[in-house]
Symmetry: C2
Subunit: 569 residues, 2 copies
């Protein structure tokens, strides 16, 4: 049986609940479930509606409910599951923690797929303090790793993203996410993978396939073809362990916050920062958010004040900006080193950013502000200071690998019910009914490119009645990764439909303009062939070589996939 | 027809000339030559003995003479040649400049292969000064690129290796060589490849396959599987263009030279340097050479003083060390930044290397020393100072991307005729009849590992009557790449045979001890299966997917290759 794209789109257009209508293709045979139960035990196989609905919960327009969910305990079980899938001709959709919010969450590409949830495999297998690396399983969250290091190895930091403590480290890295610290170009910190292949073989990359290798976790390339990259943003294998380099805590760190007041000032800001990123002064991934990115970190859309609109009127946006004390753009970066190195680099940053509002955060300044906020707590000043200090501490933490839920708040921007009372301790935007889509094109780190890009996207979002909500991250020395957040109110059918149209137009327009995404959501993967030549045929050949029966996540970063169920050729 | 390994070894054991005995398998049909001539013109196809002998010239024990040589002018001709090879069932062996000295030089893996010499494709297609990158063809040498940048873009540096100006930038990077500067982890500076596949298709990696991509040369990973790594140390495709990031010249640079007096002091030195490499103070690839590495940069083996020995007696080695004013180990690294950043980092280096002899070179100090040497030129002091200044300037240059032939001198160590009079202006160790083999295992950057490794290798080379001649390079923040040079006198048949035995024993011993090579020579590629599990089956499947007819360099980093001529299954 084949699932045509249109059939899948039919369930992914407009929805108010995450429950898919039952259909044959979503059913899973009892013999498959029995076979899976024999591998992982009955407690770790799920096919009940409640569980499948929970896994299908999505922040986006597309939700796809899996046939079943299986949760292995270790690599041996993963191998056994892969063999079962091969025998019974069903595809597996591996997830680490399923927190791929804004990009398809835990949803498989088609409903025929069985979710392979690696969340139980959450061992921190090793931390080597001398060589500063860890070996971790895919279920390890960034909160767990951060806590573990703080307790046992406080002189080692693990880079983290702004997506909060509950997300998988391995999952994010395999999607080539980026973080904040000097180790924020995260793929470059991977050293050696254990991969289960579609035929159940286990592969160790780097030098790890040599018995007794001494450099499995210190030398990533190995000898012969360097293949780690093909297991990122792909469906070629199931990564069950990863070597990950950790950042030695520097003697000193200074976080700086730079403000560009006017819309167009971002060009000068990017052009001032680029040379510092290129000359090694800035080793952190500098993030530059627009006003809305910051406003949305402190509250949700003022539905009461703005009736019937999905975007903020200009005056209101300016008012919110002014009351938050921010400009149009806010950049955050960090300097690492000993006291003199940080001082020398800070001097260089100050000189380069002359003309911009620039502020340095240090541990000591944060402490003083925190004390002042406590002293003034009963007053309005005190409350405002506390909120500022909270944000500053969250930013400071991100730049030293401490995850925070604070910046997840942006996901709640168009949530009509506002911020849930249990936020931030217990939050999951997909389960909390938040609706947003992320689009993340790459740009050269040039001011004029940012202006051209912003002009292009602002026009599109405005035409569809939305706000331009964006962060530019200096993901390497020469590129920006833009993350555009498109928030919508899913209870408003017309708005959700508009969001879909807006997203599709943005997607094709940025690709047409040459701003290729660094990562895409599951519902956009089929669109990756647009304007591309040659590449996807090559990756299809590699897929065919490694997984001829399409066992692993058919359609995932595989735009040409026929999406037929295996064994049904 | 199949070439069994033993047949190949038969021609690679012991030889005094580079000429192979003619054999059927080395013959090339006239219709193949005609077809190639139609593509590149008669002036660019060679099958005469003199040319084939020249390409077969090797510094090593194994020489393999190709069937023919073809020299395309551009990517279109490469594509046409690949199609001819497919039609006529013969394999191609691509080389960039053919200077893979110590690792098989320009020799193909088997004599059935036709060398595809990309040397004429030597265009520097683009240099972008704002984003600091170049786009180059495989024939571009590091001397050419360095000269071009000095003339047209003096504020950009291209990393280079110690192999002199005549070697290919692309060729070295595709073998994952490393350099000296902050861009010395060279594979990390690659951004986008143009690759001709075995079926004649052209592939652009990264975001380069999207029409109008803005980030082809700034964002390496693209979207979907990141595949660039599989075209390094492989035979999956022919790289015809490479995007290469250039290092912006810093305001200031300081090169330091550190000496560890005693053999075992290297442990403390590595342990002192590792934290500086990990914390970002040392962004350059620090190289640590032993006494012999330096002694051999200033002259050849004292054949007259030492009769009939292939290694230096201990007293003589100590004497040479003393007269050169060096210790057992000499490390060289560089600091980059503005004046204050370099000063702060230099302070940190000084503190970490307390207890070692440490010297900083700056442009100013070199100038003063050069002036002093000129003033004193008539005296013995002046000559010695000049030699020191030459070495210091060469080291200084390497750390700013200026190639030098000075360190090629090591290749001439056991050349009985000494250094040729035309050295260094016009040298090619393979054509000059130098004999040496390189073995380059990886180690964790830990003092105790270096000691264990040295003990292991020293015992083996001593048993075979050779000297331990090594450089350890901090090729990333956690690993050392050792390059062991095994020099031998090819005119001495017994010594050459001993060298072969010594090399094979070293190779298997270091692999058995877990020190996996980062790169191997063509004659060792079949040995890569030793102690490996799983990996080479996967790469074989990828090869089969991309080049099912084995058109491109069969056997290259392909230990399981049957090495049968294509079309003769």
């Amino acid at each position: 049986m084949k699932y045509r794209r249109s059939e899948i789109d039919a369930c992914s257009g407009l929805q108010t609940t995450v429950r898919l209508p039952d259909r044959d293709c979503g059913q899973v045979d009892e013999d498959i479930l029995s076979a899976l139960r024999r591998v992982v035990g009955p407690a770790n196989v799920f096919s009940d509606d409640a569980t499948l609905d929970r896994y299908a919960a999505s922040t986006g327009l597309g939700c796809v409910r899996a046939r079943a969910v299986v949760r292995p305990a270790d690599t041996a079980e993963v191998k056994a599951i892969v063999l079962v899938a091969g025998q019974h001709h069903f595809p597996l959709y591996p997830i680490s923690r399923g927190r791929n919010w804004g990009y398809g969450d835990a949803c498989p590409v088609t409903p025929s797929q069985v979710i392979l949830d690696l969340g139980r495999m959450n061992r921190i297998v090793e931390v080597n303090p001398e060589l500063a690396y860890a070996e971790i399983e895919p279920g390890v969250t960034q909160g767990q790793l951060s806590d573990y290091l703080q307790t046992h190895h406080p002189s080692l930091w693990a880079d983290c993203t702004g997506a909060g403590p509950d997300v998988s480290v391995v999952g994010n890295i395999l999607d080539r996410g980026f973080g904040h610290t000097a180790y924020g170009n995260r793929f470059q910190t991977v050293c050696g993978l254990e991969v289960v292949l579609a035929d159940g073989r286990t592969l160790h990359t780097g030098t790890g396939h040599y018995a007794g290798s001494r450099t499995y976790r210190t030398y990533p390339y190995g000898v012969g073809p360097y293949i780690d990259g093909i297991f990122t943003q792909s469906n070629f294998g199931i990564v069950t362990r990863m070597g990950l380099w950790l950042m030695p805590a520097p003697e000193e760190m200074a976080v700086f916050i730079v403000t560009a007041e006017e819309q167009r000032d971002i060009a000068a800001l990017v052009d001032a920062l680029r040379p510092l990123r290129m000359d090694g002064t800035l080793r952190s991934v500098v993030h530059i958010g627009n006003d809305l990115r910051l406003i949305a970190s402190a509250g949700t859309f003022p539905f009461d004040a703005v009736h019937g609109l999905s975007s903020l009127p200009g005056e209101l946006r300016e008012q919110l900006r002014r009351s938050a004390g921010i400009g149009n753009w806010t950049g955050v970066g960090a300097l690492y080193g000993d006291r003199r190195q940080v001082a020398a680099s800070a001097r260089r940053v100050r000189r380069a950013l002359r003309g911009f509002r620039l502020q340095f955060l240090t541990e000591r300044r944060l402490q003083l502000a925190r004390m002042a906020a406590v002293t003034l707590r009963a007053t309005g000043w005190g409350r405002r200071l506390k909120s500022l200090v909270d944000t500053a501490e969250a930013l400071y933490g991100l730049n030293r690998g401490r995850p925070t839920r604070r910046f997840l708040l942006g996901a709640y921007w168009r949530r009509r019910e506002g911020i849930p009372p249990e936020f931030p301790e217990n939050c999951n935007p997909a389960l909390d009914g938040c609706s947003f889509l992320w689009l993340s094109p790459t740009l050269p780190a040039l001011g004029r490119e940012v202006i051209a890009f912003n002009d292009l996207v602002t026009r599109i979002v405005a035409r569809h009645g939305f706000d331009f909500f964006v962060t530019f991250s200096m993901i390497n020395e020469r590129s920006l990764g833009a993350v555009i957040t498109l928030c919508f109110d899913r209870d408003n059918a017309a708005e959700a439909a508009r969001a879909g149209n807006c997203y599709r137009e943005m997607f094709s327009s940025v690709v047409d303009a040459g701003y290729v995404p660094y990562r895409v959501g599951t519902t956009s993967m089929a669109s990756l062939v647009r304007r591309s030549e040659g590449f996807w045929d090559v990756t299809a050949a590699l897929k065919q070589a490694l997984d001829p029966d399409n066992i692993i996540a058919p359609g995932r970063y595989e735009p040409g996939a026929a999406l037929q169920a295996p064994g049904e050729q």
